[in-house]
Protein backbone atom coordinates (compact mmCIF):
# COMPACT_ATOMS: atom_id res chain seq x y z
CA UNK A 1 0.00 0.00 0.00
CA UNK A 2 2.74 2.41 0.99
CA UNK A 3 4.77 1.69 -2.13
CA UNK A 4 1.70 2.27 -4.30
CA UNK A 5 1.00 5.56 -2.59
CA UNK A 6 4.53 6.78 -3.16
CA UNK A 7 4.32 5.98 -6.84
CA UNK A 8 1.17 8.04 -7.18
CA UNK A 9 2.63 11.07 -5.50
CA UNK A 10 5.24 11.32 -8.20
CA UNK A 11 2.82 12.10 -11.04
CA UNK A 12 1.72 15.68 -11.69
CA UNK A 13 -1.22 16.55 -13.95
CA UNK A 14 -1.89 19.98 -15.44
CA UNK A 15 -4.80 21.00 -17.64
CA UNK A 16 -5.66 24.22 -19.43
CA UNK A 17 -8.34 25.20 -21.96
CA UNK A 18 -7.07 27.37 -24.82
CA UNK A 19 -9.05 29.12 -27.54
CA UNK A 20 -6.88 27.84 -30.39
CA UNK A 21 -6.87 24.90 -32.78
CA UNK A 22 -5.15 21.61 -31.83
CA UNK A 23 -2.68 22.28 -34.66
CA UNK A 24 -1.75 25.71 -33.26
CA UNK A 25 -1.11 24.13 -29.86
CA UNK A 26 0.87 21.28 -31.41
CA UNK A 27 3.04 23.80 -33.25
CA UNK A 28 3.56 25.85 -30.07
CA UNK A 29 4.87 22.72 -28.33
CA UNK A 30 6.99 21.28 -31.13
CA UNK A 31 8.31 24.15 -33.25
CA UNK A 32 11.43 26.02 -32.13
CA UNK A 33 10.15 29.39 -33.37
CA UNK A 34 7.23 28.98 -30.91
CA UNK A 35 8.92 27.35 -27.92
CA UNK A 36 11.16 30.38 -27.50
CA UNK A 37 8.15 32.62 -26.96
CA UNK A 38 6.61 31.38 -23.69
CA UNK A 39 7.53 29.87 -20.35
CA UNK A 40 11.26 29.37 -19.90
CA UNK A 41 11.85 29.98 -23.62
CA UNK A 42 14.61 28.27 -25.56
CA UNK A 43 14.36 26.38 -28.84
CA UNK A 44 13.00 22.83 -28.76
CA UNK A 45 14.19 20.37 -31.40
CA UNK A 46 12.20 17.23 -32.11
CA UNK A 47 12.53 14.30 -34.49
CA UNK A 48 8.79 13.65 -34.47
CA UNK A 49 8.76 9.85 -34.73
CA UNK A 50 9.14 6.99 -32.24
CA UNK A 51 12.75 6.84 -30.94
CA UNK A 52 13.40 10.28 -32.46
CA UNK A 53 15.67 12.66 -30.58
CA UNK A 54 14.35 15.50 -28.45
CA UNK A 55 16.34 18.32 -27.00
CA UNK A 56 15.51 21.72 -25.63
CA UNK A 57 18.25 24.29 -26.02
CA UNK A 58 18.89 26.78 -23.23
CA UNK A 59 17.74 30.35 -23.75
CA UNK A 60 20.23 33.20 -23.24
CA UNK A 61 18.69 33.71 -19.80
CA UNK A 62 19.13 30.05 -18.85
CA UNK A 63 22.75 30.08 -20.07
CA UNK A 64 23.39 33.21 -18.00
CA UNK A 65 22.07 31.21 -15.03
CA UNK A 66 24.68 28.52 -15.64
CA UNK A 67 22.74 26.11 -17.85
CA UNK A 68 24.61 23.96 -20.36
CA UNK A 69 23.70 24.54 -24.01
CA UNK A 70 21.20 21.65 -23.97
CA UNK A 71 18.84 22.27 -21.04
CA UNK A 72 16.61 19.20 -21.51
CA UNK A 73 17.12 16.03 -23.50
CA UNK A 74 15.14 12.89 -24.17
CA UNK A 75 13.48 10.76 -26.81
CA UNK A 76 10.15 10.78 -28.58
CA UNK A 77 8.15 7.76 -27.41
CA UNK A 78 4.97 8.53 -29.36
CA UNK A 79 4.12 11.34 -31.77
CA UNK A 80 0.53 11.55 -33.02
CA UNK A 81 0.12 15.08 -34.40
CA UNK A 82 -1.82 17.12 -33.40
CA UNK A 83 -3.21 14.94 -30.58
CA UNK A 84 -0.57 13.30 -28.47
CA UNK A 85 3.13 13.55 -27.79
CA UNK A 86 4.92 11.29 -25.30
CA UNK A 87 8.55 11.93 -24.41
CA UNK A 88 11.26 10.75 -22.13
CA UNK A 89 12.49 13.92 -20.49
CA UNK A 90 15.64 14.68 -18.51
CA UNK A 91 16.56 18.06 -17.07
CA UNK A 92 20.24 18.90 -17.54
CA UNK A 93 20.38 22.42 -16.11
CA UNK A 94 21.48 21.20 -12.73
CA UNK A 95 23.77 18.18 -12.07
CA UNK A 96 21.54 16.81 -9.28
CA UNK A 97 18.48 16.88 -11.51
CA UNK A 98 20.46 15.39 -14.41
CA UNK A 99 21.42 12.53 -12.06
CA UNK A 100 17.74 11.85 -11.35
CA UNK A 101 17.56 10.59 -14.93
CA UNK A 102 14.69 10.37 -17.41
CA UNK A 103 11.08 11.10 -16.52
CA UNK A 104 8.04 10.62 -18.77
CA UNK A 105 6.11 13.57 -20.15
CA UNK A 106 2.79 13.32 -22.01
CA UNK A 107 1.07 16.15 -23.89
CA UNK A 108 -2.58 15.46 -24.81
CA UNK A 109 -4.52 17.81 -27.08
CA UNK A 110 -8.31 17.38 -27.42
CA UNK A 111 -10.72 19.70 -29.22
CA UNK A 112 -13.88 20.67 -27.28
CA UNK A 113 -16.79 22.93 -28.30
CA UNK A 114 -16.53 26.55 -29.44
CA UNK A 115 -12.99 26.40 -30.85
CA UNK A 116 -11.59 25.67 -27.40
CA UNK A 117 -8.94 22.97 -27.05
CA UNK A 118 -8.15 21.01 -23.92
CA UNK A 119 -4.46 20.61 -23.24
CA UNK A 120 -3.29 18.17 -20.56
CA UNK A 121 0.29 17.71 -19.41
CA UNK A 122 1.08 14.61 -17.36
CA UNK A 123 4.58 14.45 -15.90
CA UNK A 124 5.54 11.11 -14.34
CA UNK A 125 8.30 11.98 -11.92
CA UNK A 126 9.21 8.72 -10.23
CA UNK A 127 12.67 8.96 -8.75
CA UNK A 128 13.00 12.67 -9.54
CA UNK A 129 12.04 14.56 -6.36
CA UNK A 130 14.18 17.61 -7.13
CA UNK A 131 12.78 17.98 -10.64
CA UNK A 132 9.27 17.52 -9.16
CA UNK A 133 9.81 20.61 -6.99
CA UNK A 134 10.91 22.74 -9.96
CA UNK A 135 8.17 21.67 -12.37
CA UNK A 136 5.63 21.87 -9.53
CA UNK A 137 6.52 25.55 -9.08
CA UNK A 138 7.68 25.11 -5.47
CA UNK A 139 10.98 26.89 -6.13
CA UNK A 140 9.50 29.97 -7.81
CA UNK A 141 10.50 32.29 -4.96
CA UNK A 142 14.08 31.05 -5.37
CA UNK A 143 13.98 32.23 -8.98
CA UNK A 144 13.35 28.85 -10.63
CA UNK A 145 10.19 29.95 -12.44
CA UNK A 146 6.66 28.70 -11.84
CA UNK A 147 6.92 25.27 -13.48
CA UNK A 148 4.19 23.74 -15.65
CA UNK A 149 1.33 25.87 -14.26
CA UNK A 150 3.22 29.02 -15.22
CA UNK A 151 4.31 27.65 -18.62
CA UNK A 152 0.71 26.71 -19.51
CA UNK A 153 -0.68 30.04 -18.28
CA UNK A 154 1.89 31.86 -20.43
CA UNK A 155 1.18 29.59 -23.43
CA UNK A 156 -2.57 30.30 -23.14
CA UNK A 157 -1.92 34.04 -23.05
CA UNK A 158 0.42 33.84 -26.05
CA UNK A 159 -1.98 31.80 -28.22
CA UNK A 160 -5.07 33.79 -27.26
CA UNK A 161 -3.64 37.32 -27.32
CA UNK A 162 -0.37 37.06 -29.25
CA UNK A 163 1.37 38.50 -26.21
CA UNK A 164 3.21 37.14 -23.20
CA UNK A 165 2.36 37.58 -19.54
CA UNK A 166 3.88 40.77 -18.12
Amino acid sequence: MTAMTETRVATQVYRVYIKATPQAIWDAITRPEWTGRYGYGGRAEFELRAHGKYRHLASAEMRAGGSPEVAVDGEVIEADPPRKLVLSWRMLMDPEMAAEGFTRLTWEIEPTQGGVTKLTVTHELEGAPKLALIVGGSLEKQGAGGGWAWILSDLKTLLETGKRLD
Binding site: R8, V9, T11, Y14, G146, A149
Partner: protein, 106 residues
Amino acid sequence: MTDDDLVFKALADPTRRFLLDRLYKRDGRTLTELESVLEMTRFGVMKHLRVLEEAGLVVTRRSGREKLHFLNPVPIRLIHDRWIDKFTERRISALADLKHELEDTA
Protein backbone atom coordinates in the same frame (compact mmCIF):
# COMPACT_ATOMS: atom_id res chain seq x y z
CA MET B 1 -20.71 31.28 -15.89
CA THR B 2 -17.16 32.11 -16.97
CA ASP B 3 -14.19 29.90 -16.09
CA ASP B 4 -13.10 32.36 -13.40
CA ASP B 5 -16.59 32.32 -11.87
CA LEU B 6 -16.49 28.53 -11.65
CA VAL B 7 -13.11 28.67 -9.89
CA PHE B 8 -14.20 31.32 -7.38
CA LYS B 9 -17.43 29.43 -6.71
CA ALA B 10 -15.52 26.18 -6.20
CA LEU B 11 -13.10 27.87 -3.79
CA ALA B 12 -15.91 29.53 -1.81
CA ASP B 13 -16.49 26.43 0.28
CA PRO B 14 -14.38 25.15 3.21
CA THR B 15 -14.87 21.45 2.39
CA ARG B 16 -13.67 21.96 -1.17
CA ARG B 17 -10.66 23.97 0.00
CA PHE B 18 -9.92 21.17 2.47
CA LEU B 19 -10.04 18.60 -0.36
CA LEU B 20 -7.61 20.71 -2.41
CA ASP B 21 -5.29 20.95 0.61
CA ARG B 22 -5.38 17.16 0.95
CA LEU B 23 -4.46 16.75 -2.72
CA TYR B 24 -1.74 19.39 -2.44
CA LYS B 25 -0.17 17.33 0.35
CA ARG B 26 -0.43 14.13 -1.63
CA ASP B 27 -1.74 13.95 -5.16
CA GLY B 28 -3.48 11.13 -7.00
CA ARG B 29 -5.95 9.97 -4.34
CA THR B 30 -9.04 7.81 -4.69
CA LEU B 31 -12.51 8.88 -3.55
CA THR B 32 -12.26 6.36 -0.69
CA GLU B 33 -9.06 8.01 0.58
CA LEU B 34 -10.54 11.47 0.29
CA GLU B 35 -13.79 10.61 2.01
CA SER B 36 -12.10 8.76 4.90
CA VAL B 37 -11.03 12.01 6.60
CA LEU B 38 -14.33 13.83 6.14
CA GLU B 39 -17.44 13.45 8.23
CA MET B 40 -19.62 13.40 5.19
CA THR B 41 -21.39 10.82 3.05
CA ARG B 42 -19.63 9.42 0.00
CA PHE B 43 -22.28 11.10 -2.11
CA GLY B 44 -21.56 14.47 -0.47
CA VAL B 45 -17.83 14.18 -1.14
CA MET B 46 -18.54 13.14 -4.75
CA LYS B 47 -20.65 16.27 -5.22
CA HIS B 48 -17.86 18.50 -3.97
CA LEU B 49 -15.33 16.73 -6.18
CA ARG B 50 -17.60 17.23 -9.18
CA VAL B 51 -17.72 21.00 -8.55
CA LEU B 52 -13.91 21.03 -8.29
CA GLU B 53 -13.64 19.02 -11.52
CA GLU B 54 -16.02 21.32 -13.39
CA ALA B 55 -13.90 24.29 -12.31
CA GLY B 56 -10.83 22.45 -13.61
CA LEU B 57 -9.21 22.38 -10.16
CA VAL B 58 -9.27 18.60 -10.02
CA VAL B 59 -8.40 16.30 -12.92
CA THR B 60 -9.17 12.58 -12.72
CA ARG B 61 -7.23 9.75 -14.26
CA ARG B 62 -8.03 6.05 -14.41
CA SER B 63 -5.40 3.71 -13.06
CA GLY B 64 -6.58 0.13 -13.48
CA ARG B 65 -9.90 -0.08 -11.64
CA GLU B 66 -9.27 3.07 -9.64
CA LYS B 67 -10.08 6.67 -10.40
CA LEU B 68 -7.37 8.96 -9.06
CA HIS B 69 -7.88 12.64 -8.31
CA PHE B 70 -5.13 15.13 -9.10
CA LEU B 71 -4.92 18.77 -8.09
CA ASN B 72 -4.67 21.00 -11.17
CA PRO B 73 -3.18 24.35 -10.10
CA VAL B 74 -3.46 25.96 -13.56
CA PRO B 75 -6.86 27.71 -13.05
CA ILE B 76 -5.55 29.33 -9.86
CA ARG B 77 -2.37 30.28 -11.69
CA LEU B 78 -4.43 31.92 -14.46
CA ILE B 79 -6.31 34.00 -11.89
CA HIS B 80 -3.03 34.83 -10.18
CA ASP B 81 -1.33 35.86 -13.43
CA ARG B 82 -4.24 37.91 -14.79
CA TRP B 83 -5.70 39.38 -11.60
CA ILE B 84 -3.79 39.13 -8.42
CA ASP B 85 -0.35 39.98 -9.78
CA LYS B 86 -1.76 43.18 -11.19
CA PHE B 87 -3.02 44.42 -7.82
CA THR B 88 -0.26 43.15 -5.55
CA GLU B 89 2.38 44.66 -7.84
CA ARG B 90 0.81 48.08 -7.53
CA ARG B 91 0.56 47.73 -3.77
CA ILE B 92 4.16 46.59 -3.47
CA SER B 93 5.40 49.45 -5.64
CA ALA B 94 3.34 51.89 -3.52
CA LEU B 95 5.03 50.53 -0.41
CA ALA B 96 8.42 50.79 -2.10
CA ASP B 97 7.68 54.43 -3.01
CA LEU B 98 6.68 55.14 0.59
CA LYS B 99 9.89 53.53 1.83
CA HIS B 100 11.97 55.70 -0.53
CA GLU B 101 10.14 58.83 0.57
CA LEU B 102 10.59 58.07 4.26
CA GLU B 103 14.23 57.24 3.77
CA ASP B 104 14.84 60.40 1.76
CA THR B 105 13.33 62.63 4.43
CA ALA B 106 15.15 60.84 7.26
